[in-house]
């Protein structure tokens, strides 16, 4: 057995041991009494998902093969573009997504770079297989052979993961100016696609303001956009896989598509290797160029700067408010640092919320408010992770601070909630500019939604403190968690909507003045927020080392 076979065997054994250990730990967690509720919810979700899959397979009309082919390849291209946009905006990540332990023990061991790339791509195969299985369940009835579908999807998703690695490695190796160029190009392309999507949605909605009609219009517009020639050109690497998935039988043509798919996979692996090599070289070259510039006096060495007197950077001064002030000031630093990302993350929900005013002349502020409520609960918390979720590695430090749980909770969630309120106010202002509205409606919307913002962040943090997780944690458990949270939020929104309608109906029936209707809504919203904040504070008080270790 030569050295490389030994290395490959050790890496494989390590991965298997790691998987075994993870499975054992997951089973223990699932059986833990504290997580029983979550386990039951996850089991219920899986049951529903599979039953739904079976139901869909039995009842749904198969999609036209030509359309499905375009959607399969086009959606991969859209994901690839998303990875490039994300990589161009994010801070440089670790090499090929390796953990600190992998960087020290595997990348530093006598393992060639090519084997390291293969190891990294092989590492993502198990999670990719699970994703493939989930997508294949949905598309089962649309293809002649599920086996070909699974093979094609698996290869397509592995190529997509390889492109994610390429995007991350490429972006982190760029110079500052190069990064700006790539960022501008990728973002412009993404914005153009979004504009295309918005235009198609407006055309497809045909004046409807009903949320379901708009959702159907968005889906149809997304399908048309993905199938458009421009996206399909970007999707060229996935064409063989799309054709393979839809091939009617294992004939010569299917064999050619399979061969081409394998070839694309090999090309993707080689591309990761080449980009990884280029990135290492380019980072070193940029460093050398900067050092040369310092040498020629064109740049100043930071270590020299440090010796010069520079004004001390201070936190934004706020009154103490029992400790809330300093906590908000600290969060503000993060907001300033990630301002561009936050702005982009909130611009999309704002556009979505204003969509009813564009799609229909009958739409008013209440339609916008309904969308704002959806965005506040579903989109704002993932976009503004500047609360307990960001502090998972500093939890013990926060615990040691002489601050009561309630104050800590308010301090942690106040800023993201206030930013969300600001986003709501700006969106409402734009909506009022487009379609003038009565002041009482504006008060109702702003007063109700602002309390809802606090409620959303308090609920998100309660969930996090009960079942904590790392920021970039992945895997089946995280996927099920995300789906469950989404379903839970959907249910919550439906209940809130029903409660609002019931309250309005009651007020109309017993002819209560409008002021009572508005006050009732605002009081209900802020009371829910207060209860949710108290729940978060309770979870924070009960948060312990054991939960931290299990994250």
């Amino acid at each position: 057995m030569n050295h490389w076979q030994g290395v490959a065997r050790s890496l494989l054994a390590m991965k298997l041991h790691s998987l075994q250990s993870r499975v054992r730990r997951s089973v223990l967690r699932l059986l833990s009494p504290k997580r029983l509720l979550a386990t039951l919810a996850a089991a219920l979700f899986m049951l529903l998902y599979v039953s739904n899959g079976v139901l869909v397979i039995l009842t749904r009309k198969p999609v036209a093969p030509a359309d499905l082919m375009l959607w399969l390849s086009g959606s991969m291209a859209i994901y690839a573009l998303f990875h490039f946009v994300r990589a161009s905006w994010q801070d440089p990540d670790t090499r090929l997504g390796m953990s600190a332990a992998e960087s020290l023990w595997i990348a530093r061991a006598p393992v060639s770079n090519s084997l390291l790339v293969i190891y990294r791509i092989a590492s993502i195969v198990p999670s990719t297989m699970i994703k493939t299985a989930l997508v294949a369940t949905v598309l089962f009835c649309d293809v002649a052979s599920p086996l070909r579908l699974v093979i094609a999807l698996l290869m397509a998703m592995i190529i997509l993961e390889a492109i994610r690695m390429i995007a991350d490695r490429f972006a982190c190796a760029l110079s500052h100016s190069g990064r700006i160029v790539v960022r501008t190009a990728a973002t412009t392309l993404a914005v153009l696609i979004l504009i295309q999507l918005a235009a198609r949605t407006i055309a497809a909605a045909a004046g409807s303001v009903h949320p379901l009609a708009i959702l159907i219009a968005v889906s149809a517009a997304a399908g048309d956009t993905i199938a458009s020639p421009a996206i399909q050109w970007l999707a060229l690497p996935w064409w063989p896989m799309a054709h393979l998935a839809l091939a009617p039988s294992w004939d010569g043509l299917a064999a050619v598509y399979l061969l081409l798919s394998v070839l694309m996979l090999v090309v993707a692996v080689v591309a990761v290797f080449m980009v990884d090599f280029w990135a290492s070289w380019h980072q070193n070259w940029c460093e050398g160029a900067r050092l040369g510039a310092i040498q020629r006096g064109l740049l100043t060495d930071g270590s020299t700067n440090r010796r010069n007197a520079r004004p001390r950077k201070s936190l934004f001064a706020l009154p103490k408010f029992s400790g809330v002030g300093p906590l908000i000031s600290r969060q503000w630093v993060g907001v300033v640092r990630y301002r561009a990302t936050i702005l982009v993350s909130l611009a999309v929900p704002a556009a979505l919320s204003l969509a009813p005013l564009v799609t229909s002349v009958d739409a008013g502020l209440l339609h916008v408010a309904a969308w704002l409520a959806v965005c506040t609960l579903v989109l704002a918390p993932p976009a503004l992770r500047i609360d307990f979720r960001r502090d998972i590695d500093r939890i013990l430090l926060l615990k040691s601070l002489p601050i009561t749980p309630l104050v800590m909770t308010i301090g942690q969630i106040a800023l993201p909630s206030l930013i969300t309120i600001m986003f709501q106010v700006i969106t409402v202002a734009i909506a009022c500019f487009i379609s003038p509205t009565a002041p009482t409606t504006i008060i109702l919307v702003i007063g109700g939604l602002s309390g809802f913002a606090f409620f959303s962040f308090a609920i998100e943090n309660t969930l996090f403190l009960t079942f904590p997780h790392r920021p970039k944690q992945e895997g089946l458990a995280m996927m099920v968690r995300a789906k469950l949270v989404f379903l839970g939020k959907g249910l919550l929104l439906a209940m809130l909507g029903a409660a609002f309608i019931a309250w309005v109906t009651l007020c109309a029936k017993i002819e209560l003045p409008v002021i009572v209707l508005i006050a009732g809504c605002i009081i209900a919203s802020w009371s829910s927020a207060a209860v949710a904040v108290a729940m978060t504070a309770r979870c924070w008080r009960r948060f312990n080392d054991y939960q931290l270790g299990s994250a």
Binding site: S18, A100, W105, P110, S280, L291, I294, Q295
Partner: protein, 263 residues
């Protein structure tokens, strides 16, 4: 065994290491000391091949660290401060992994001996994430001792170790140096490493303040009765001049590709 010539490392706009040079022979134990931010860890990471130097030459056992990285990695061990471990692997599985990656013959037997030496035998089936800080450090040292490296780079290895652990580590360092290994030991615990080091490299603001044998350092500061006092005397100087920046020769991507991939 180790030759460092005009090593420079730039982080963004900060020159962390500003053209340092030194060389060590087999059997030497060099104490790398200096205040926080002196460039000690950066120097070690460049030598370990974890980060690429901006310029300068690094030779280990006659091999260039950047060009012959695979061969260098077989000869060189690096233990960082608070080493990251695989949370899903046990202590024994960590040693199995290293044994396989470095192609160590009879690694099971050797790993048992090392675990016994560092009092980890009882923890062999424990997951790494259940270990204390000191035990994690001991496991990282065991992993690096397993393949008998010719060069050992230890970055703050004493942090977190209990007194028997410190004694065991220092004895093992002496033993390995006596068998021909070259060791660089970075530590702020000067009193602890005083009697182990044959050489001392004092760094400050990315530059070498002193390099030589421990005896030379004491001769230079006769008033000092210990390494600690000699260190304070060596670094107690007026503000240093700006780091001296060495001219660099750029390498094209073709040269780099030929040097690393196609060789």
């Amino acid at each position: 065994m180790i030759q460092v010539h005009e090593l420079q490392k730039l982080y963004e706009q900060t020159l962390a290491v500003a053209g340092i040079s030194f060389s060590l022979q087999p059997g030497d134990i060099c104490g790398l000391v200096g205040p926080n931010g002196a460039g000690k860890t950066t120097t070690m990471r460049c030598l370990a091949g974890l980060i690429a130097p901006t310029s300068g030459q690094l030779i280990v056992d006659g091999l260039c660290v950047t060009g012959d990285s695979l061969e260098v990695r077989k000869r060189l061990a690096y233990v960082p401060d608070d080493p990251p471990l695989f949370d899903d692997l046990t202590v024994g599985q960590h040693l199995d992994l290293i044994g396989g990656l470095y192609d160590v013959p009879n690694y099971r037997e050797k790993s048992d001996q090392l675990l016994a030496l560092f009092d980890l035998t009882a923890k062999v089936n424990e997951l790494a994430n259940s270990l204390s800080r000191g035990m994690r450090q001991k496991l990282a040292i065991c992993c690096n001792y397993l393949f008998d490296p010719k060069v050992l780079l230890l970055d703050e290895p004493l942090t977190g170790l209990d007194p028997p652990g410190i004694r065991c580590l220092l004895d093992s360092i002496r033993d390995r140096a006596a068998r021909g290994a070259c060791v660089i030991l970075s530590s702020h615990l000067l009193a602890m490493i005083d009697h182990v080091c044959s050489h001392v490299l004092v760094m400050q603001k990315g530059q070498v303040e002193f390099f030589g044998t421990s005896d030379n350092l004491r001769q230079r500061h006769p008033e000092a009765s210990s390494l600690e006092e000699a260190y304070f005397a060596a670094v107690a100087k007026p503000e240093l001049a700006s780091p001296r920046i060495m001219p660099i020769a750029p390498t094209s991507i073709h040269e780099a590709f030929h040097a690393t991939v196609l060789r």
